[in-house]
Amino acid sequence: MKMVFKIFKSNVRRCLPCFMSSILVAATLFLFEGIKEMFLATMSVRERLESSLGISTHLYIYVLLFIGVILILYTVNNYSRIRLRDYGTFLVLGSEKGTIIRMMLSEYGMISAVSYGAGCVLGTVFLFAVRRMIISEGIVMELSRQMYLQVVCRTFLYMVMVYAAAVLMNVAYLQNHSLSALMRYDRKKSTLPSVKVSLIGTVCGVICFAAAGIILNNEHIPPYIKIKYGLLLVLAGVFLCFTFTGRLLLYLLGGRERWYFKYLLRIKDLYYRFADNKNIMMLSFVINFTVLIFITNNIVEFGCTDSRYLWKYPYDYVYAVEEGKADEFVRKFGGEGEADISAYPCLFLTCTEYGEYIGIPLSVYKRFTGEEEGLEPGKVFGILQKSETGEDAVLLSGRVAFETGEGIQRFEAEKQMNRILFCAHQRESINVLVFNDGDYRSLRKTWDGMSLITWKARENVRTESDGGREKEERMRDLADSAGVRLFYSREELMLRDRKEDVMALIFYISMGIFLMISNMAVLAVRTWTEIPVLTGKYGFLKKLGMDEGDIESNVKGELSICMKIPFILSFVLGICALMWLSGGRGYILDMRVILLFGAVVFVQGCFIAGIRNYGYRLVRESAAGKEENGVRIWN
């Protein structure tokens, strides 16, 4: 144990990337788990199941967990690459496999325990900072001691799962390979595909791109389906081209001898470096692209919410009371000329199959919208009060049946639309059916008549009487005492929406930061592992008499290839995606999106330039050090 601790202590520098990524993952998981816990505590069980954000928060944690697993596995794998060789040496010198497995467990245990502790501390600081931010938005978020302990325990569970996966992978490797293979582990290189396979792969990649282009440009496919399948095909195309096109180009280049020999050294070196790092480049590209397009757009969308909900709530309060009590209700709540109050007849209908609707006659629909439209008997308008641009429909089958005085009557959807008549509600999706006045009367015989009462403060009294939580609570109490069937308050709904948006905003910011740091960590680790190889090459080229300037550009080119290719590719495709989004696709390209896009590109560019120069300095210093010690560096 003492020996293990000593070896581990002297290996701390090597485990730094491993430590950093583990702390990052632990802190992010802790933070997000904490936010999730606080957020879900404000919801009822039904809301958790029905709310899209309630479901999403569970999904988000798995996305973070997945990225965390990849990040930790990658850094642990790099650390293991060095350690497996040491374990191989131990085995050759007579250690038993059980001893080595115990050694691994204690080593990874130490890494995970320290990272988990540091991650929890960091996560706690972030969590309380975020909580304060949410509370400043007027949203109540409780964090009890029990909830905090739950977060601590869950993060521990996640970290154990991640590390168990890493340890198991190494144990499996140890069990399945000979001692000699273990000692050669750090020399493992990827194999190059054959020209034939590369040709097929490239053609498949191009087909994927073409199919994605066709899907994305098809006007008849709904946007959600378009993005889902289009994106999948683009990703498949990028993966195939990443893997196979380079090999094909190298083969084709072989035919152009003059060109080939002039740039032989550079091309071959870069290609082999590319082939060794293609999976990392692919990962880096996906992360970059996600951050540049998906995350930046969402941060801007959810971050700037001034007055954005007002269109969804045209009235301050909406009530539904029994038809007979409507007049009394209006008298009671009318105030003294402070508000415009209107009452509209309606029915609360339950479909014979499934689903609840608010039914209104065509005349009421005209009062709400001010539009003159006709509707034949037996037809309905299906209105989903959710958003104005969504593609969801109230009647998926296009028809609906209700019990009437003359038995079950079927109605066909004349048209279906997304629009706001009196109030939108994200969670409950208020479904409204507009009937021909004759049909409405027929339904009225079976279903109890209700009155929909809208309450809107007059402009001139708004500032005095529009009034915060107190007024809202008073109105709610009054509504409860009057036994209303439905009560919507604009302020309450806007606060709920804001709460969901703030949650989504925090998620996207955390996700963006997490992805960017993960990407940088993976690339930095990769560059770090390339240093010994490039040190050898530096010494070799120097011995051959190459100019220092040429060596510098050569080594820097190799160092930065796995950072530059995904960066440039994601930048170019990101600009294309932004242009596509703004080119008549229903999105307005916001200046804030462009600024955020530019900021992310700038940070990444600086990082690449920095790591490139620092890496070269390390190579030079390392080569100088080896020369001083008399080691053959070009071995």
């Binding site: 070896i7 050759v92 007579g94 250690s95 000692m183 008399g630 080691v631 071995n635």
Partner: protein, 239 residues
């Protein structure tokens, strides 16, 4: 002492060893020579139980290595065998003294006596004064001598050396081969060495010549080193 019977080793579709028979006697200094890819390192690794054979048997004394447990194999590697590699395989995180004492840590016998023993070998092979240095700070020859001390500290009966001078210049190579000769002559250890350098091979008592995974023949030292060297050179034409 060690007997290899009809050893066959395949890597994927390539047959590296095609039925090799070899016997190594007590206190013998034996060299295995051959061109690159002839299977000499593979043979050494199989005899040293680092790599399993595809087919054939290895007998250590009278024990069939195929029939012993993993624990027993680990014990034999720990107590009876010592290894020296071309790439040294020193632990970068340990000092020279700690690297030399590593087998003692593994066999749980690292105490004051063990330390004294390690220091004795360190002095013997001329790396005293470097005990507290890290492997990164040493020259190739010094690293290899550290590896030699590590191979001897557990008092093994056989030392396997895989191209021990392959990564060294001629001066350091000479120091290392002298050390191996000392191991054999002074400490009476059996040494099995893989090399492609006839100069280094001339230190051995017997040379096994491998070609394309088969034993082509052997050369035994019957005269002085110069004569033996010439004889090896002559036989190398066949390789």
């Amino acid at each position: 002492m060690i007997r290899a019977e009809n050893i066959i080793k395949n890597y994927q579709n390539t047959e590296v060893l095609k039925g090799v028979d070899l016997t190594v006697k007590e206190s013998e200094f034996i060299g295995i020579m051959g061109k690159s890819g002839s299977g000499k390192t593979t043979l050494l690794k199989i005899m040293g139980m680092i790599e399993p054979a595809t087919d054939g048997k290895i007998f250590y004394e009278k024990d069939n290595m195929e029939q012993i447990s993993g624990k027993e194999a680990a014990r034999i590697r720990r107590e009876e065998l010592g290894f020296i590699f071309q790439e040294f395989f020193l632990l970068d995180s340990l000092t020279v003294l700690e690297n030399v004492m590593l087998p003692l840590f593994i066999s749980k016998s690292a105490d004051a006596d063990g330390k004294e023993k390690a220091e004795k070998f360190i002095r013997k092979f001329g790396i005293d004064g470097l005990e507290k240095k890290m492997p990164d700070e040493l020259s190739g020859g010094e690293r290899q001598r550290t590896a030699i001390c590590r191979a001897l500290v557990n008092d093994p009966r056989i030392v396997f050396a895989d191209e021990p001078t392959g990564n060294l210049d001629s001066k350091s190579g000479k120091v290392v081969i002298d050390a191996l000769e000392t191991i054999n002559k002074e400490f009476k250890k059996t040494v099995v060495m893989v090399t492609h350098d006839p100069q280094m091979a001339s230190y051995c008592d017997r040379i096994i010549l491998l070609k394309d995974g088969k034993i082509l023949g052997q050369v035994t030292k019957e005269r002085d080193r110069d004569g033996f060297y010439k004889e090896i050179l002559a036989r190398m034409i066949d390789l």
